[in-house]
């Protein structure tokens, strides 16, 4: 029974699996990402409820005034259970039945994680709610997405000024989330306009027409605020990355997971690349990425443009083996980077389990040394979850 045995983990799994539920059950009436569409704001900041799934994915690296290093992930997923509005209560209930405000087809799931390098701690929490009654939801204007008291929302006034926004039209967001031991509250200011990934924002995941998403990133978002650790506030600032993606499909039938890299280099350029893996562990041809130069111009990257070598592995308590250090080369750009997690264990023991962690980057660009930071995501390594992909 949902009440007795349906734990959060089980429900989370259900919700996430729903999103990836490829196969014959896929209803055709969800909106499909089939062709490139120009991004439009603020519309595309907000929800796209006709698509099956969607997420607002913020990851970032932070430094405290005392020089302590933190990483954070605050992600809110939206899943639609059905393409159409829920049917009204059955006719037998009579005309006098007032519909309940709890009826909805939208479910929101929040993931929040803090990597505390100095304390060698990685903590995460999950929050799940239906998108009804204001318990959880998303809106474009003013921009706001939330699950319970976790939220990412446009702010104005003092918060905007505090974030160092010079012009009033610059969007400034407030984000907040909490878990045992940590409270995160930040203001965030994008340092660049949104960058469409893939083919003008259409990101194909397989040869199937529906297996695609609309996908854009804001690779450089300035963040500052506080982390309360065990009741004590610490001032922090740093650089975050926002990924926005929505669609109704999953991965291709052969694809079981991926590695995702979001790297912010010190020279002002950024690299995003996702490497899809098939059942045999081979890289899938639909792997792709985007190189954003220091002027904010986007350059799509195909699988053949990028070479990734795994240099080390890390095995969790359950024996799941994750790659844990990489050499990432983009010959066309003269990039040769080594990517290292700041902490080996940044695995979210959610269902499905995945690894999402802060990383350091070191290497060369056209022969000159370049450093940086970023986030890496590893999905589909914990056996049971193979195939239940699709949330990034």
């Amino acid at each position: 029974m949902s009440v007795r045995s349906g734990t959060l983990a089980v429900l989370t799994a259900a919700a996430m699996t729903l999103a990836a539920n490829a196969g014959p059950a896929r209803p055709p009436s969800f909106a499909q990402a089939l062709a490139p569409q120009p991004l439009e704001f603020p519309r595309d900041q907000g929800p796209h409820p006709d698509f099956r799934q969607e997420w607002w994915y913020l990851t970032g690296n932070l430094d405290s005034a005392a020089g302590e290093r933190f990483g954070f992930e605050l992600t809110i997923f939206r899943f639609a259970l059905a393409p159409a509005a829920p049917p009204l209560p059955s006719a037998a209930s009579g005309p006098s039945v007032k519909p309940s405000g709890w009826r909805t087809r939208q479910i929101y799931l929040g993931h929040f994680a803090i990597t505390d390098v100095a304390r060698h701690r990685f903590r995460f929490a999950v929050k799940l709610s239906r998108g009804a009654l204001g318990l959880a939801g998303a809106q474009a204007r003013p921009f706001r997405v939330w699950v319970g008291n976790w939220r990412i929302a446009r702010s104005s006034g003092p918060a905007a000024a505090a974030a160092g926004s010079t012009a009033a039209k610059d969007p400034v967001w407030r984000l907040q989330a909490d878990e045992r031991g940590y409270v995160l509250s930040l203001t965030a200011r994008p340092l660049m306009p949104p960058v469409p990934n893939g083919e003008k924002g259409l990101s194909r995941k397989s040869g199937e027409p529906g297996d695609a998403t609309y996908y854009y990133s804001i690779p450089r978002v300035a963040v500052q605020g506080t982390i309360v650790r065990d009741g004590r506030p610490l001032k922090v600032h740093g650089l975050a990355w926002l990924d926005r993606e929505w669609g109704s499909g999953g991965l291709g039938p052969q694809e079981v997971g991926w590695k995702w890299f979001g790297l912010q280099l010190e020279d002002g350029s950024c690299l995003m690349f996702y490497a899809l893996r098939d059942r045999n562990g081979a890289e899938d041809p639909y792997s792709a990425g985007t190189w954003v130069d220091r002027h904010g111009r986007a350059h799509p990257l195909a699988r053949s443009d990028v070479r990734i070598d795994t240099l080390a592995h890390w095995t969790d308590r359950r024996g799941t083996r994750y790659p844990s250090r990489w050499r990432l080369r983009v010959p066309a750009l003269g990039l040769d980077l080594t990517v290292r997690p700041v902490l080996a264990d940044q695995e979210l023991m959610t269902s499905p389990r995945y690894w999402e962690g802060a990383v350091n980057v070191a290497g060369t660009r056209a022969g000159r040394p370049v450093g940086g930071r970023g986030y890496v995501e590893l999905v589909g390594y914990a056996g049971a979850t193979a195939g239940s992909a699709g949330f990034r």
Partner: protein, 851 residues
């Protein structure tokens, strides 16, 4: 010593009937205790389990009045929680009500699976596979399929439902279409009466859109929890109540306490009767073996050895009887559980008692009671037989001489018991238990005086009849002289008959009072109510459109309307009837306190009227105030008067419907009383009203005569247990009498043989024996009738008043006495049958040859 044991064993083996009877008596007494304990424990357990079945890890519960909580409170708690590094409380909203599915009363519980899972936390993690929301498809069905429900696998099987089966959920007479989308396997017994659905579905079915029945809260432990609890208290609106999760169980059980006290008293009564019977049985076995024992004593056995033997026998008998009693109790307990749940359903609350809980303590208690009773009952006879000098043991006359002295002493004891009972009643104020204590003292008093009464009557009759028949005189004097054997049995019978008379007078008086009250109160011609289990359940409401159609029916001249709910008060939850009274209805309310000239105007301006029971329970008088929890917080209401009401043992308050609607923002109507136009017949109007409801709602539409009949039927069902138990007590007494008289008469066969030898005909001998036993039955009855009256007075004026606050008029009927008469005489006749037959048919010579 082995000789002694062998003798003891041989004695019992030679007298299997006696052994069996003693065992039956003991087993019946112990069995009653076990059965009653099982019944009350089961209903309690079912209740607790049903509380824990959903959000079982909750530590607190937030509730509000009849309309429940505004769901905005939950939204605020979930989204507005301040950020913190400390462990946070978890909240889970619940929308619940009582429904009927395929004839079974079930609790419909609407939950939000996400919130409930978060409240249960990761500790309760179980593998997926259960129904509800563990697979994407199940979650989708749970949230999106109209009428999706889930129940325990066993319950589904009992209702012949399979996953995918359609089902109809009946709520207050409105039928809703549902589907069983899943079953819970390996569920707890508390789930047996649960039907789960999504919170959205529950709101729609129960007509509670926007409202919540409760919010379950799980507070973290330690200082973080205390801080969070204090903050929560500050955030709650004034109309909300925050209580420990266990509190809800306790409060509901308070309502049933009077009921279980009644049952417990009945089981104690049964044990008391069986104690007397065991005393009788052991006495007989001892008495019959006086000769043996005296011989053994003469052969050198010490007193201590004899005492040990007798007490060991009693212990073995006690243990065996108690063991049998436990088995009997377990068997009867199952049936009694059903009776309890049914009774409680009708009058007090809805608890679907499906599982039988056997508290371990009960078995130990029962075994101890059986053993203890046997030992105590045998101690006196054992002491006596061990104490008598060896040669005296051979003479019964010594024993009987002693018994006469004991009877005299017992008369004094009887008077002392009666005085103690009076003192207890006078000195104990409101205690129900003291009322029962007084009752037991009275019964003991009856038991103690019966031997003397028997002796005096026998002597008196013997003197009166001596001129008529010397045989009759002989027979009667024989009775007077055999007190050691007959006294105990007659006392037990007297006590049982007295209890029977007392209880039946009480029940009948109550019934008559109830009928008077129903006639007085039921002023309208037709009553229409939303059906459903439970009193004051908010989901019992007449659909507004249906109500409109009913009132527009051409035969209707006027109407009264009521909304029955349970509201929080400063003194715990109380049942509240908000009434709009038609002019003709005022006369139906009989005031027992309050100024009749001002009561109704105060009532219209918001004052409360309290039923006798409620006023008694809360110790309230007109002029005082009672604070009720309205939709905008607590508010003190003046009390204008007290009225007569037998509707429930816990009582209710009455308030103007207009005032209620204003303060509770609840427009629903639970029932209406319809006054018909002159010349319109109820029987003809009812089908028209049913047609007006037009299949939209299956309402209870009854004429006032039908309601009266139904109420009395419910009443009778309520007292069924009482009846079952007193018949059991009476049966024990009858069996005891039979065994005692049998033993006595068989012991006397030699004397009868002498009489036969002296010329008494076989028929005369039989008549003599029968006359003796009937005389004893009559003596028991004579002692029991006045005692029964006193017991009835104590039951109605002390116990019922103290338990329920009711004033019940005493009503005496011949039938109550006739039952008792029949029982006493039947027992006596039955007891005499076999000895009479022996006396008539026995070979004279053989009996005499023993000399």
């Amino acid at each position: 010593m082995p000789t002694l044991w062998a003798a003891s064993l041989r004695h019992f083996l030679r007298q299997p009937a006696q052994l069996a009877l003693a065992l039956v008596a003991l087993a019946a007494g112990v069995g009653t205790i076990v059965a009653v304990n099982i019944a009350t424990a089961s209903s309690r357990r079912a209740f607790e389990l049903s509380m824990h079945a959903v959000n079982g890890r909750a530590t607190q519960v937030i509730t509000a009045g009849p309309r429940g909580l505004d769901q905005a409170l939950y939204v605020r708690l979930f989204t507005g929680a301040s950020l913190s590094t400390a462990p946070q409380p978890a909240y889970a909203p619940v929308v619940a009500g009582y429904v009927t599915v395929r004839g079974r009363v079930m609790q419909l519980v609407g939950v939000d699976p996400f919130a409930s899972a978060a409240l249960q936390g990761p500790q309760e993690a179980q593998p997926a596979g259960a129904a509800g929301g563990s697979t994407p498809g199940a979650l989708r069905r749970w949230l999106l399929k109209p009428g999706a429900t889930v129940m325990g696998a066993r319950t589904a099987r009992q209702l012949r439902l399979r996953v995918g089966s359609p089902l109809t959920v009946d709520i207050g007479g409105v039928r809703h279409a549902g589907t069983l989308i899943g079953v819970i396997r390996g569920h707890g017994p508390g789930d047996a009466a649960l039907i789960l659905t999504d919170i959205a579905q529950a709101q729609e079915w129960l007509g509670m859109a926007g409202r919540l029945t409760r919010i379950d809260v799980r507070m973290p432990r330690g200082p973080a929890g205390r801080t969070a609890l204090a903050r929560l208290r500050r955030e709650l609106p004034p109309a909300a109540q925050l209580e420990p999760a266990a509190g809800e169980v306790r409060q509901t059980l308070d309502m049933t306490r009077a009921f279980s006290t009644n049952l417990t008293a009945m089981s104690l009564l049964a044990l008391l009767v069986s104690a007397l019977l065991i005393y009788g049985a052991i006495s007989f076995t001892v008495v019959q073996r006086r000769r043996n024992i005296a011989i053994v004593r003469a052969l050198g056995a010490t007193r201590r050895e004899v005492l040990t033997i007798v007490l060991t026998e009693a212990a073995v008998l006690g243990a065996a009887g108690a063991g049998l009693g436990v088995l009997l109790g377990l068997a009867v307990g199952h049936g009694l559980v059903r009776l309890v749940s049914q009774t409680v359903n009708d009058l007090y609350y809805v608890a679907a008692v499906r599982q039988v809980a056997v508290p371990a303590g009960t078995l130990i208690e029962a075994l101890a009671a059986g053993l203890g009773t046997a030992l105590v009952a045998s101690f006196l006879p054992a002491l006596e037989v061990a104490g008598s000098a060896p040669q005296l043991g051979l003479r019964r006359s010594v024993l009987e001489g002693r018994a006469a002295a004991v009877a005299r002493r017992l008369s004094w004891l009887s008077a002392a018991f009666a005085l103690a009972a009076c003192a207890l009643i006078a000195g104990s104020g409101r205690s129900v238990l003291a009322g029962f204590g007084a009752l037991f003292l009275l019964l003991s008093s009856v038991a103690a005086v019966t031997p003397s009464v028997l002796r005096a009557l026998a002597r008196l009759a013997a003197r009166a009849l001596s001129a008529v028949s010397s045989v009759a005189r002989l027979a009667l004097e024989d009775i007077a002289a055999s007190l050691s054997r007959t006294g105990v049995a007659v006392a037990a019978l007297g006590m049982a008959v007295a209890a029977m008379i007392g209880v039946s007078i009480m029940v009948e008086s109550f019934r008559v009072s109830l009928r008077h009250w129903l006639v007085q109160t039921m002023r309208a011609d037709i009553y229409v109510a939303a059906p459903g289990p439970g009193v004051g359940r908010p989901e019992r409401r007449i659909e507004p459109a249906v109500l409109k159609a009913l009132l527009a029916a051409p035969g209707i001249a006027d109407h009264s309307a009521s909304r029955s709910v349970v509201v929080g008060s400063s003194r715990g939850d109380i049942a509240l009837d908000a009434l709009h009274l038609a002019p003709g209805s005022y006369a139906g309310i009989e005031l027992t306190a309050g100024d009749p000239r001002t009561v109704w105007s105060s009532y219209r301006h918001g004052a409360l009227l309290l039923s006798e029971s409620l006023a008694w329970r809360l110790r309230l008088r007109p002029g005082q105030r009672l604070s009720l929890l309205t939709a905008s917080g607590p508010r003190a209401f003046p009390i204008a008067g007290i009225y007569h009401e037998y509707g429930s043992g816990v009582g209710s308050a009455m308030m103007s419907l207009r005032v209620y609607r204003q303060l509770w923002r609840d427009d629903s109507i639970t029932a209406v009383g319809l006054y018909l136009r002159r010349g319109v017949e109820a029987a003809r109007e009812i089908p028209r009203l049913e047609a007006a409801a037009g299949g939209r709602q299956a309402l209870l539409i009854r004429s006032n005569a039908q309601i009266r009949a139904m109420s009395l039927e419910i009443f009778d069902r309520t007292f069924l247990i009482t009846r079952v138990l007193y018949w059991l007590a009476a049966a024990i007494a009858a069996v005891g009498l039979v065994s005692a008289l049998l033993a006595w008469e068989l012991d006397r066969t030699r004397e009868l043989s002498v009489l036969r030898a002296l010329g008494l005909t076989p028929r005369g001998a039989a008549a003599l024996v029968e006359a003796q036993t009937v005389f004893m039955g009559g003596a028991a009855l004579l002692a029991a009738v006045p005692a029964g009256l006193v017991i009835a007075v104590v039951l109605t004026k002390v116990v019922d008043r103290r338990a329920f606050g009711w004033h019940i008029q005493m009503h005496l009927h011949a039938a109550q006495f006739l039952n008792a008469l029949a029982l006493a005489l039947a027992a006596a006749l039955l007891a005499g049958l076999y000895p009479a037959w022996r006396a008539a048919a026995g070979p004279i010579a053989a009996e005499m040859r023993e000399e």
